[in-house]
């Protein structure tokens, strides 16, 4: 992870590695039925979208990636990120549709693929987006995130 000072927003300086998972949204079936359309009001499980931990002050207060050592930049609804699987190299560009994941609740967690590992949950993709770079049944994978 490249950083000059602890306060620099890391995704302005280059790609950042972390864990990627998936979440459902858009009043879908099952436990997702109460999730709604997300913080941006546009989230849909079938769309190529993602949740980002720093979409607003209120969002940041919930997710707190800084507690895990990740000072992610403020990015608002609709901003594009590219998520690249560290396992196989497949990538997908998605837009921000929600606030999340709650990075601080999983601080220090690490996922590996081959000899490559990445720590901390930095992004959640919709099922449509996640299934383009990994199978939904993997649940959690290491990835690299850059601006799309």
């Amino acid at each position: 992870m490249v950083r000059s000072t602890p306060t620099d927003p890391i995704d302005l300086l280059g790609p950042v590695q972390g864990e990627v998972s998936w979440f459902c949204c858009g009043n879908a079936w099952g436990p997702c039925s109460s999730t709604g359309k997300g913080a941006c009001g546009t989230c849909n499980s079938g769309s190529l979208q993602h949740a980002w931990p720093n979409t607003s002050d209120a969002c940041w207060n919930i997710t707190r990636p800084d507690r895990c050592g990740d000072a992610l930049s403020r990015r608002t609804c609709g901003f594009r990120h590219r998520t690249t699987s560290l396992c196989g190299g497949g990538s997908i560009v998605t837009t921000i549709a929600d606030c999340g994941p709650q990075t601080d609740l999983f601080c220090g967690e690490r996922s590996c693929c081959g000899a490559t590992c990445a720590s901390n949950r930095l992004i959640d993709l919709t099922p449509a987006a996640y299934s383009r770079i990994a199978s939904l049944s993997t649940g959690l994978r290491p990835c690299e995130i850059s601006t799309g």
């Binding site: 109460s34 209120a58 207060n61 919930i62 699987s85 396992c87 196989g88 190299g89 497949g90 590996c112 693929c113 081959g114 000899a115 490559t116 990994a134 199978s135 939904l136 049944s137 993997t138 994978r141």
Partner: protein, 260 residues
């Protein structure tokens, strides 16, 4: 009865003081004010000022209850405030059922039956406090007051992490309800997690176009097959104590897929 009533103002005042101080002093409470029903009903920007306003009302009623001489108006003020709490809970449970009440400290869970029971108990104690006067305090009254305090604490979901969670943790440690019953079974997920960590899977992942299609065990290995853009990828995964580097993969040419 009058001896019991004599202690009610103190029980109610202690509870209101605590609730007010949490609202005024807790940074976590302020940071999570946006999740409360107040924020959803009146807008996120008004949540913190409204919480402070409620805290001031709680402090005022607590002051009235504690300041001598006692009068029936003390209990009446507490009863009005408790009725207000009940009305707020009922409205927020109906209008914004996913929001927390913001009653006592930071707490993310929606309004539940215990919140209603707590506000109801406060109302009952307030009605009792209307009859409070400078009566001698009996031992029975002290016991009842202690039971009321315990009931208020038990009916506060905000405090679960201090007593309910540790007691459940202890019970789980003693009873081990998730202990493995059939250790000879090796779940498929165990093999798949080893597979996902393997260099072989990492290498082949970009070729895969489906999730796992089939798996079977043979000669200490678990085989798993995947579609791979018109071909089939088959992996062998050690069943017992293997390392990710022991996983092997082959990409196999098969006849074109046909509709079932």
């Amino acid at each position: 009865m009058q001896g019991i009533a004599a202690l009610q103002p103190y029980v109610i005042a202690a509870f209101l003081l605590w609730a007010a101080l949490m609202k005024l002093l807790s940074r976590r409470m302020r940071s999570q004010a946006g999740r409360t029903a107040l924020a959803r009903l009146f807008g996120p920007a008004r949540a913190v000022p409204l919480l402070r306003l409620v805290a001031v009302a709680e402090l005022a009623v607590a002051g009235v209850l504690l300041a001598p001489p006692s009068s029936p108006w003390d209990g009446t003020a507490a009863a009005v405030l408790s009725t207000g709490f009940l009305a707020y809970l009922a409205y927020s449970a109906r209008a914004v059922p996913d929001s927390s009440c913001g009653c006592l400290g930071a707490h993310g869970r929606p309004v539940e039956w215990r919140s209603f029971a707590r506000a109801g108990l406060l109302l009952a104690l307030s009605v009792l406090a209307v009859t409070a006067g400078p009566y001698p305090i009996e031992p029975l009254a002290v016991v009842i007051a202690a039971a009321e305090v315990l009931a208020l604490l038990a009916l506060s979901p905000e405090l679960d992490r201090h007593w309910l969670t540790p007691s459940r943790q202890l019970l789980v440690r003693l009873t081990r309800p998730l202990a493995v019953r059939e250790p000879e079974l090796i779940p498929l997920e165990t093999s798949l997690r080893l597979l996902y960590r393997s260099p072989a899977y990492c290498t082949a992942a970009a070729h895969l176009s489906s999730d796992i299609q089939d798996f079977w065990d043979e000669d200490g290995l678990r085989y798993a097959s995947y579609a791979a853009r018109g071909r089939t990828a088959v992996f062998s995964i050690p069943l017992y104590g293997g390392a990710p580097a022991d996983v092997r993969v082959a990409l196999v040419e098969e006849p074109a897929l046909r509709v079932m």
